[in-house]
Amino acid sequence: MSILKAHNISKKFKNLEVLKGIDLEVNKGEVIAIIGPSGSGKSTLLRCLIRLETIDRGSIEIDGQPMVTEASDGHSVYASEQNIRVLRKKMGMVFQNFNLFPHKSVLENIIEAPIIVNGLSREEAEAIADQLLQKVGLAEKRHSYPCELSGGQQQRVAIARALAMNPDIMLFDEPTSALDPELTGEVLRVIKNLAEEHMTMLVVTHEMGFAKEVANRVIFMDNGVIIEEGTPEQIFDRTQHPRTKAFLGQILRS
């Protein structure tokens, strides 16, 4: 069952066309890894899906509801701000740089949005937060501030914060790229656990081992287009596409 559907989306920054007609359909429970060289448009794609960037052409549907539709002249027309708010609540996002709120404790980082956006009581929100902190292995950091945590711990808090809004889809924008190599494992493990619980996820990543192990589907992007997609075996072991081959070859050599 499709939970997110993007059709023919294009995005320009000034004169630079970053996305050139992307089609993407995400089914419930799927874990999709998006790989590709830097500047290929992977992050922009993710950001467009959650409307951190607006698209110029194409359409996006979330859970069967249009967030942005394509007018007859091909230009994108967004739904009302109110409708978009409802649709965006179905999505959670985790950033490369964590973006925790530095002036708030771990607990406050997690409970604030459930309280002020979803209208939960403080007790309900704290109960959810504690459960999530347990899940990401940081129960004892409840009252710490982000600056007291390692990068890997901060990213795990960021994941808990996104999960506290109870999203249907999680978007990860290079979640381990800002981490020291020895800290990536703890974050990837949390994401892997989510995959085992059948959380629908889109993960932009440079961690090929992780993509291979956890993803059901791998999308290879280059230069604003999807070059190839398929199962991890199809992409990593049996690709015939020269650009995929070149990219993987480069990654494996480094």
């Binding site: 950033f95 709120f101 949005a113 956006v117």
Partner: protein, 216 residues
């Protein structure tokens, strides 16, 4: 006696406190919130607000504070608004300091990483909620040093109100000096300003310490 003289002069100068402190605190009470509003308008997406606040800041930072005080006290009556000298001073000072605070706040707000807006945005917070709960609290920490600078300047700027006949600390001291041909009163006034600056420096240091529980 010398000591008696210092004491008597000090008591006379103390009367100037009322004007100096009255103006100092009134200016802060009005100019800090006004400065924040101007800063928010300046960075809003509405062109008209940007232009209006930009012009306001240019005018108020671009002319002498004393001239603004004169304008409010001597000029506004011509437009049908007559204010007593203390009210006129407070109005001019508040408008002037708000312009400076606005620019300090704007720089503070704009120094906050755009990732903070994005993470608040994807969590569903509105722009107003993001500003109030995320951006402004972090801005406060960053602008404490420049705000402290302005506040210390304000203590001394209050002396400008001699121009419209208000008897503040410095003007009172000056009257005593001209009466007695003795500069002791000036020294007393200097000590007064120095003490105030010391207190303010201490308060702002404490505030900075209070915010040091987190780093960005």
């Amino acid at each position: 006696m010398e000591l008696d003289y210092i004491l008597n002069s000090s008591i006379a100068i103390l009367k100037g406190f009322k004007v100096t402190y009255g103006l100092f605190f009134s200016t802060l009470i009005f100019s800090l919130p006004l400065g924040l509003l101007v800063a928010l308008a300046r960075i809003s997406r509405y062109r008209i607000l940007q232009v209006v606040t930009g012009t306001y800041i240019w005018l108020l930072r671009g002319t002498p504070l004393l001239l603004q005080v004169f304008f409010v006290y001597f000029g506004l009556p011509a437009l049908g608004l007559t204010l007593n000298n203390m009210t006129a001073a407070i109005l001019a000072f508040a408008l002037n300091y708000a312009a400076y605070f606005a620019e300090i706040f704007r720089s503070g707000i704009q120094s906050i990483n755009k990732g903070q807006y994005e993470s608040a945005d994807v969590l569903g917070l509105t722009y107003a909620q993001t500003m109030r709960r995320k951006i402004i609290p972090q801005m406060v920490k960053r602008v404490l040093p420049p705000v402290s600078n302005e506040v210390i300047t304000l203590v001394k700027d209050t002396a400008l109100v001699f121009g419209i006949g208000l008897l503040d600390v410095l003007r009172t001291a000056q009257i005593i000096v001209t009466r007695d041909f003795d500069i002791t009163a000036f020294i007393i006034a200097a000590v007064f300003y120095l003490l105030n600056t010391a207190i303010l420096t201490f308060i702002f240091r404490k505030l900075e310490q209070r915010y040091s529980y987190y780093t960005t």
